[in-house]
Symmetry: none
Subunit: 125 residues, 4 copies
DNA sequence: GTGGTCTAGACCACT
DNA sequence: GTGGTCTAGACCACA
């Protein structure tokens, strides 16, 4: 379990944690059905408060990345309701496209940036 | 001046305002050198606090979209320091790509979504 | 013995178990004097902790649905102290009526919903 | 604003608060668009912690009874998506019907109990 | 041992 | 002044 938190970042800790776990799922380090560590254990491991971890888990649950199994705690369970999530993603993408347009960053540049990110993780072949 | 603010959104008002103004620049509704409305007037128009408008203008200045002129107030002045901004944009894009990968939304889908956004504003061809 | 437990529900497992057993009594699957399975066996069958089954049985005893027999374990024995239970039921019903009123769900609708539930089990005529 | 909390109840404080506010809406004491008190003020008024009030407000938001206006805080705004809520209500009602059946409380009795509750608030003519 | 609930106090972003 | 976030510590219900 390699979670890296930047305490100097202006991004909320629970959001960093959320994103790190999503990264872990994307990288196939956590698999469907795996149980996440208990809030106390993970909090100790990364040196933050239990409640902050709890909040991250809650958000992940609301966003459809984990389910709570009352026996095993938080368990990876990714919803795949494509259409709904694609609209959300598009909504998040929109302001970035606007920034790009303002800066004269072309559509091709944006495509290339996405490909670069894929490449960073070796996902382009 | 068509600014739409969603008071029920979980996005901060000043960020919504910032993004709306960036949208306006991208849509060529505001041009280089145009003066934005005064803080007080815009606040009254939208029905939000002066401080909130002020904060939005400050952020726009820090992000290099406007300059503050003693006499004319905030004036559109977009920096074009491409490389630096591209890195920022890529950093913002990364967590979205992760979410997409988790949801089995393909790279091609992401490209298509960006194209769709361009298309929404008639920028393709 | 068909007990269905939803491990992802936000309802406590022991309460789900309690309700399932009460459902069984209502459906006449368990009759006055029948012995429930042993704590250990039921726990294994459902895949939950022994303590959880124990708790469910305790609550059923307190609520007057089973008695505990030294030799036979938990035995169905339904109290019929109508008036007291009716007050409890009414107390539980009250917040639901409030929710219904807020949602503009009429009194007739509530009656109909209860009838529907009776109908689901073929109890109407 | 008359909120009554029972500190000896085994019901969670935030749920009691939630239900009291729903009661207030049902009783037409709070109207669509009214702003609820700030979490700090209400917490002081009823002598509980700010975070507990916050949790109650969060649940009310998730359940579609209030919306958060970033200017005015929590505002009464009742969703009226009848069908969905009717299913939820029916699901909550089901175990109560089962208890009634076990106790030999008739369908007519249940109807009468609901009418009694309506009557308690003078809603039956 | 685990999560859920509650309390308390603090800082900061936002309005 | 308000809510959002984070920390900390405690108790209890649950498993």
């Amino acid at each position: 379990m390699y979670i890296e938190i930047d305490f100097n970042s202006d991004e909320a800790l629970y959001l960093q944690l959320r994103n790190q776990i999503i990264l872990g799922i994307a990288l196939d380090q956590y698999h469907e059905g795996d149980a996440l560590p208990s809030v106390r254990q993970l909090a100790d491991d990364i040196g933050i408060n239990m409640h902050t971890v709890n909040k991250a888990y809650s958000v992940l649950r609301q966003d459809g990345y984990v389910k709570v199994d009352r026996r095993r705690g938080a368990v990876i369970a990714v919803d795949v309701v494509k259409e709904e999530h694609m609209q959300q993603l598009k909504a998040k993408l929109r302001p970035m496209v606007m920034e790009a347009v303002c800066r004269d960053i072309s559509r091709e540049n944006l495509h290339a940036m996405i490909d670069e990110i894929y490449n960073d993780y070796g996902w382009l072949e």
